[in-house]
């Protein structure tokens, strides 16, 4: 039997880039379901438009770079799904379209496509939209008000509790609406419980490490406990930070993006803690009510440093372990001589 030679290992683990992306898509679909529940069909169409734009842009840019487009590559779908979720449901269609084009063409493909981008495309797209359309980005419709499916929205737009926190006030909402996420805010980020469930699913599937969002959100919570914003105090301040700002959404979906986080576990943990600190600093001193995309982009720039430092540390530890173990094990049975077995001993 003549066969072509293959490389070892001859069995492979069940995970592929495709399953990683599919996990993300499944969880984001759950978030879209909640957005549909709050804001009706417009939320879904925003998502569909954004995904279509991102996929088309990804395809076109891959062709422009002279590569063969991979039809199974779902990373553009994830980016496309993420972008509108961080915007109000009333956003004009052109905003996620431009954000998606910026994310894919400039932040992702210009750096060499999937795996080579330094900055998270979705966060960069949203940051771009915030800078360009600051007012529109932070005017939210109240949940359950009917929104026009096409064209501009005529419903009354308000500022959300995140803005109240930003200007130093204390938002008053009862626990029920808080847990249901019926809050004026970006269309995908208000239902913290659903997002937390998504995080659990991703962690259980080992798509993200559970410590990454936990450490990042823990740091944010600790910072808000020690240095509360405005007039709220203690635990109220923690609840305000976690439920009224989109920090949980960012912690679960964006700060865990594998391409733009360090590789080593130690570095991942440190990165999460520093991200939390930076998020807390920027939400307090930043110029917008939602500073997380900027915090993420800033942290992304330091990922190579985290990687280098962790590699140096791990190399030292590793060599120490080798040295210790080397004294205790060997395959050394003397030289390759061929003399006869030892004659009668004693």
């Amino acid at each position: 039997m003549k066969l072509s030679s293959r490389t070892a290992p001859h069995i492979r683990g069940g995970r592929s880039n495709r399953t990683v992306m599919l996990d993300m898509i499944v969880t984001l679909a759950a978030v879209y379901f909640m957005a549909w529940y709050y804001y009706g069909r417009r939320a879904l169409i925003l998502g569909a438009v954004s995904v279509a734009v991102c996929l088309a842009a990804d395809h076109a840019c891959t062709l422009l770079r002279g590569r063969k487009p991979q039809l199974l590559d779902l990373s553009a779908v994830v980016t496309g799904m993420l972008i509108p979720l961080m915007m109000p449901a009333s956003i004009p269609y052109r905003v996620p379209v431009v954000a998606g084009l910026f994310a894919i063409c400039i932040v992702k493909q210009a750096f060499g496509g999937l795996g080579n981008n330094i900055f998270n495309p979705a966060a960069a797209g949203v940051a771009f939209a915030i800078v360009c359309w600051g007012g529109t980005m932070f005017a939210y419709p109240t949940p359950f008000t009917p929104l026009e499916t096409v064209g501009n929205v005529s419903a009354l737009l308000t500022s959300g509790p995140a803005y109240t926190l930003y200007v130093g006030g204390v938002p008053r909402l009862d626990a029920g609406t808080l847990l249901q996420g019926v809050i004026a805010g970006p269309m995908g980020t208000t239902n913290v419980l659903v997002i937390a469930a998504c995080g659990l699913y991703l962690a259980a599937r080992r798509t993200i490490h559970f410590l990454q969002p936990l450490l990042m959100l823990g740091t944010v919570a600790l910072c808000s406990l020690l240095f509360p914003r405005g007039m709220s105090e203690g635990l109220t301040s923690v609840v305000n930070e976690l439920f009224f700002t989109p920090v949980v959404f960012f912690g679960v979906f964006l700060f865990t993006d594998p391409v733009t986080t360090p590789i080593r576990g130690v570095a991942k943990g440190l990165y999460a803690v520093f991200s939390g600190i930076l998020c807390a600093l920027l939400t307090r001193f930043g110029g917008y009510e939602m500073m997380f995309p900027f915090a993420l982009l800033l942290m992304n720039a330091f990922v190579p440093l985290f990687d280098l430092a962790a590699e140096a540390y791990c190399t030292r530890e590793r060599r120490r372990a080798y040295e210790k173990a080397g004294e205790h094990a060997s395959n050394d049975f003397g030289p390759d001589d061929d003399e006869a077995a030892p004659e009668a001993q004693g």
Binding site: M1, N17, P258, F333, A341, Q345
Partner: protein, 355 residues
């Protein structure tokens, strides 16, 4: 012999839990596949009646005359025994088989219990070991139908934990633990030692597992050395044409291009036939860090792969590529299906032949 340094179990990670696929082969009876009708006695080699009537040096001499090679590390058995004579070394029998599909040490151990234990007693006597030894098997075999006994012929069977690269990690045949020194011997080599001493037979066969997803009747076989792989596969039958035939384990084995020219050797542990889809789409590394998580040597396979691809020699050196044990865990886990381990292996080969 190359001298690798190995961190103790569990310093870097606990290994990869894998589906074992041992079951069809392990519960089938162990058959013989030879090209000679009767095993030939060695000329001039005495046959000893029992353990009392054989001197330690005679055991080592018989091992040498029979040409027994330990399937565990490919070293001559007599050499391993000779180096440990009267040094207070304990013996451990390796029947771990941690690569999926393989049961070529455990199968013969269960089938030829008396021979294996008698071989162990001979080996203990040969090196005047301090106790009667211990047998090690793999703990993580949940899908087994047959029970592995707690003791075989009065020898304790110890289950060792940990996940996949357990055996390669303990790939050292002379290990020091808590001040005691242990010599690892393969279970098949002990069966051959028994046959050499008490029946005067040379090692002319190897124990191997035939398996894979397109083998009709997976089983363990005792196969004559030098038989082509085609014959072994014909013996068990194929349900469909395989796309790859592997000599060795499913993780570390060598894929063969011509089954008529690939022959069974003393260290052949398995012949596996797989039918799988050829991967056509190439996805890039998404820096997920799984390869780093699973590397039992604490290396950074992702960075190594990149530096090898870019030809950065100094960086590759600094990343300790030499310590790779070629367990193939990184390639197994990689969601982009990159040939990380293969690249590192090739690079090591290249560097070794260059110096």
């Amino acid at each position: 012999m190359k001298r690798l340094k190995l961190p103790p179990m569990g310093v870097f990670h606990r290994g990869i839990p894998m589906e074992q696929h041992k079951e069809p082969a392990l519960s089938q009876p162990l058959d013989l596949l030879t090209n000679t009708p009767e095993p030939q006695r060695m000329e001039g080699q005495p046959v000893y009646p029992d353990l009392e009537h054989v001197e330690p040096f005679e055991i080592i001499r018989a091992a040498k005359a029979a040409g027994i090679i330990d399937e565990r590390d490919g070293l001559p058995l007599f050499k391993k025994l000779k180096a440990c004579v009267a040094k207070g070394v304990f013996i451990r029998v390796d029947a771990v088989d941690d690569e999926p599909y393989l049961s070529s040490q455990l199968g013969p151990l269960l089938r030829f219990r008396e021979e294996c234990v008698s071989g162990l007693r001979l080996a203990c006597k040969a090196i005047t070991a301090a106790d009667s030894g211990i047998i090690e098997v793999y703990r993580n075999m949940a899908d087994l139908e047959i029970k592995i006994p707690r003791s075989i012929e009065g020898i304790r069977v110890r289950r060792i934990g940990g996940f996949y690269p357990t055996e390669i990690r303990s790939g050292y045949s002379l290990v020091e633990e808590e001040g005691k020194r242990y010599l690892y011997l393969g279970s098949c080599a002990l069966i051959h030692l028994h046959r050499a001493v008490f029946q005067g037979l040379a090692q002319t066969t190897a124990f191997l597992t035939v398996g894979g997803n397109c083998v009709a009747h997976p089983c363990n076989l005792e196969v004559s050395l030098g038989l082509p792989v085609t014959d072994v596969l014909d013996r068990c039958g194929l349900t469909e044409t395989p796309t790859r035939v592997v000599v060795g384990g499913s993780m570390t084995g060598q894929s063969v291009s011509d089954t008529d020219k690939a022959l069974v050797t003393v260290t052949t542990r398995g012949v596996l036939a797989f039918r799988d889809k050829e991967q056509t789409d190439r996805s890039p590394c998404i820096r997920c860090g799984r390869c780093v998580q699973v590397c039992p040597m604490g290396l950074n396979p992702m960075m190594l792969y990149r530096s090898i691809q870019q030809g950065l020699e100094r960086e590759t050196e600094a990343l300790d590529y030499k310590h790779c044990i070629e367990c193939m865990c990184c390639s197994f886990e990689c969601p982009a299906r990159l040939e990380i381990a293969e690249a590192i292996k090739e690079y090591r080969r290249g560097r070794r032949s260059a110096t």
